[in-house]
């Protein structure tokens, strides 16, 4: 099966937040009480949370000497090799072949290692309940399996969110950048970040001005833990052999006494 992806064309976004509302409806997430906050105060709510998995960010950016609103989108990036899924000790997070990174709530033990591992700060934890789960965007894995498209892509009125095969969307993004000089910066966010993701963003201004996380390694997160984990069986075998050998050599004399005296041999 071809791996599916979303292409977020930020210059096409009008900040209507239709995607945000569609996501809340689809997953029956509660509304949040919010307050007007300084700076990008029109953004609502301020951040992703256990209730908000999809968020349009409002950013004031200086363009040609005047400030303008530029919108960004925050949601799970659905990494090709996701750090959260590598980190999870009980495989509660799983990368589907079709693209989505989904969460099996029945397996989760609540250790929050996925939150630490995710470079995009996406998994959110329900801190306020005795029976908490991790929550995050599922790229509407269930809708996809039923032949549909993600709710946010379906809701977007301006074509800022396109759903399709990842390879085709990468070509499409490159083509849009190439054929509209000046409209886009030359960066597909998600093409290489964390080893590549299934949500690709293109923008008219540098992504750091939209609050995107820029300190993201280019390699999959698992590449950093893999060498240490690969060493585990080698350490086991090596220690077993070395400890056993050292002990046998060191106690040669005592062994001779033990078998010579005959006292300990039948213990």
């Amino acid at each position: 099966m071809a791996i599916k992806a979303l292409l977020i064309d930020l210059p096409r976004c009008t900040g209507c937040r239709g995607c945000q509302v569609a996501c809340k409806q689809e997953y029956k997430r509660q509304a949040e009480k919010t307050t007007f906050f300084g700076g990008p105060g029109y953004q609502n709510p301020a951040d992703l949370s256990a209730q908000t998995w999809c968020l349009v960010t409002y950013n004031e950016v200086l363009i040609n000497g005047r400030y303008d609103w530029v919108f960004g989108k925050r949601q799970c990036m659905h990494c090709t090799v996701p750090g959260c899924a590598s980190a999870c000790p009980v495989s509660a997070l799983e990368k589907l072949e079709s693209g989505p990174v989904v969460y099996h709530k029945n397996k989760c033990i609540g250790c929050r290692y996925c939150m630490l591992a995710c470079p995009f700060v996406i998994p959110r934890f329900e801190y306020e309940t005795w029976n908490p789960y991790i929550t995050k965007c599922t790229m509407c894995g269930a809708r996809q399996a039923a032949g549909g498209i993600p709710a946010c892509a379906k809701a977007c009125p301006t074509g800022a969110i396109t759903f399709g095969e990842r390879d085709a969307l990468v070509r499409e993004a490159e083509q849009r950048i190439a054929s509209n000089p000046g409209k886009y910066i030359h960066h597909i966010y998600g093409l290489e970040e964390a080893g590549g993701t299934c949500v690709l963003h293109i923008s008219s201004v540098p992504f750091e001005k939209l609050g995107y996380v820029m300190r993201v390694p280019r390699s999959p997160m698992v590449a950093h833990t893999e060498p240490a984990m690969k060493a585990v069986p080698m350490v086991m075998l090596g220690l077993a052999a070395v400890l056993g050998g050292t002990y046998a050599l060191r106690t040669r004399k005592q062994r001779n006494n033990q078998s010579g005296g005959g006292a300990g041999s039948h213990s």
Partner: protein
């Protein structure tokens, strides 16, 4: 002598400990009703905080004395350390039980902790740490059993234990190997070496230690080595969040060597403290030797850390004034440089008091190091900040207090400091 409960002397100290333990327990209960957010400042940007840094990372490292002393003594022939083996195994066992208790508070869904046993995911360092701790706690329990057998004069059980324990150790190690590799070749290789060793012991080709099955100690060393280092591996997955001062590809190695140093320091502190509490004489000459081991362990940690910082080109970061660089220098001075200077001064190295001071500094340095890796060195995005809530401190304090009380109870009722020790000393 005043009042005592279960043979534990009642004094201001023990009553205070009980109060702290009770408060912690009550707050932990509140956490299970109202959620982690109600008692902690953990947030979406800082999913891990004080509990992970102190209870998990530091707590487990401080319990390393159990495997270092037992291992050094039985495996490498440090016979003179025998009087220290039982108390350190007890501390380690209690330490791990406490750590599991603390983990239940920190885990969001602790009643599902057994999922680790059925949903295998050997790519995850967390999976390995979880399994190691499970296995090693079982091993420590087995290592502590002789004390119970002696207390209740269960000689037959002691003999059965001597016979069966090695096979349990082999079973745990091979099960662990299969969970970590899911490869028959590795299981056969590791299992083969272990079984061969035990068979040779039974055939009389290899000496049979009459006090404790050697395989049990080997299993303890293997599991300890693996998870002491894997606690560092946990943080290999955050190159983007952990400050370069601490983030190194050999972080697991740092965690291991510093745990050995801290474990040894704990042995000194614990021996001194329990000698004082139970009115015994401090085994100064013995502790002096332990001090030499400590010196080498600090030196090893220091050399590795320094070489790593130089090779990775971390120089300016340490000299620029920032919370991280200050935290690093406190850690290095308290945990490595000053105690090393003390231990290398002959007059101090021979003094029980200075040995205690330097050991306490090494322990403090380890605590600071683990806090630095878990909290200070972690930069979260989106302006999230974290400082532990007073209830986080209180719950941890309660757990530690409960541990000290349990230690006093067991030492007052079981032959932890056995007369057998005096025999070996005279021999």
């Amino acid at each position: 002598m005043g009042l005592s409960v279960l043979n534990v002397r009642l004094g201001i100290g023990t009553l205070l400990l009980a109060l702290v333990a009770f408060t912690g327990g009550a707050l932990a209960l509140y956490r299970f009703l109202a959620g982690i957010g109600a008692v902690s400042n953990l947030n979406q940007g800082y999913p891990w905080g004080f509990w992970i840094g102190f209870d998990v990372l530091a707590g487990i490292a401080l319990a390393a004395g159990g495997f270092v002393v037992a291992g050094a003594m039985h495996m490498f022939g440090g016979e003179k350390y025998h009087p220290l083996v039982r108390p350190t195994i007890l501390t380690a066992f209690l330490g791990y039980l406490l750590f599991i208790g603390a983990l239940l508070v920190d885990l969001g869904r602790p009643w599902t902790i057994w999922h680790m046993m059925i949903y295998w995911h050997h790519e995850s360092p967390m999976f390995e740490v979880g399994w190691c701790v499970m296995m090693y706690t079982t091993i420590l329990f087995l290592e502590f059993l002789p004390v119970v057998f002696e207390r209740f004069r269960l000689d037959r059980w002691y003999a059965i234990w001597m016979n069966v324990a090695p096979w349990i150790a082999i079973a745990l190690l091979t099960l662990f190997a299969s969970a970590m590799t899911q490869s028959m070749a590795w299981v056969l290789a590791i299992g083969g070496v272990l079984v061969a060793f035990e068979v040779l012991v039974r055939l009389g080709v290899i000496y049979r230690d009459p006090r404790m099955p050697t395989l049990l100690l080997m299993a303890g060393i293997i599991f300890s080595t693996l998870h002491q280092s894997s606690l560092g591996s946990l943080f290999l997955i955050v190159p983007h969040k952990l400050n370069a001062i601490w983030y190194s590809p050999i972080l697991p190695l740092f965690f291991f060597v510093s745990a050995v140093a801290a474990g040894v320091a704990m042995v000194i502190v614990e021996s001194t403290a329990s000698a004082w509490y139970f009115g015994r004489e401090v085994e100064v000459h013995l502790l002096e030797d332990v001090g030499h081991v400590l010196t080498w362990a600090i030196f090893g940690t220091l050399a590795l850390r320094a070489a790593d910082l130089v090779l990775r080109g971390i120089g300016t970061e340490l000299l620029v004034l920032s919370p991280q660089s200050v935290a690093f220098w406190i850690e290095a001075l308290v945990g490595l440089l000053i105690p090393l200077a003390i231990l290398l001064t002959p007059e101090f190295a021979a003094s029980g008091r200075w040995l205690l001071v330097s050991s306490l500094m090494v322990i403090a340095g380890l605590l600071i190091n683990r806090m630095n890796v878990a909290i200070v060195g972690i930069t979260s995005t989106y302006g999230a900040t974290y400082y532990p809530h007073w209830m986080e401190w209180a719950i941890t304090a309660g757990i530690v207090a409960a541990g000290v009380l349990a230690y006093l109870f067991i030492c007052s009722n079981f032959p932890v400091f056995t007369p057998a020790h005096h025999r070996t000393k005279q021999a």
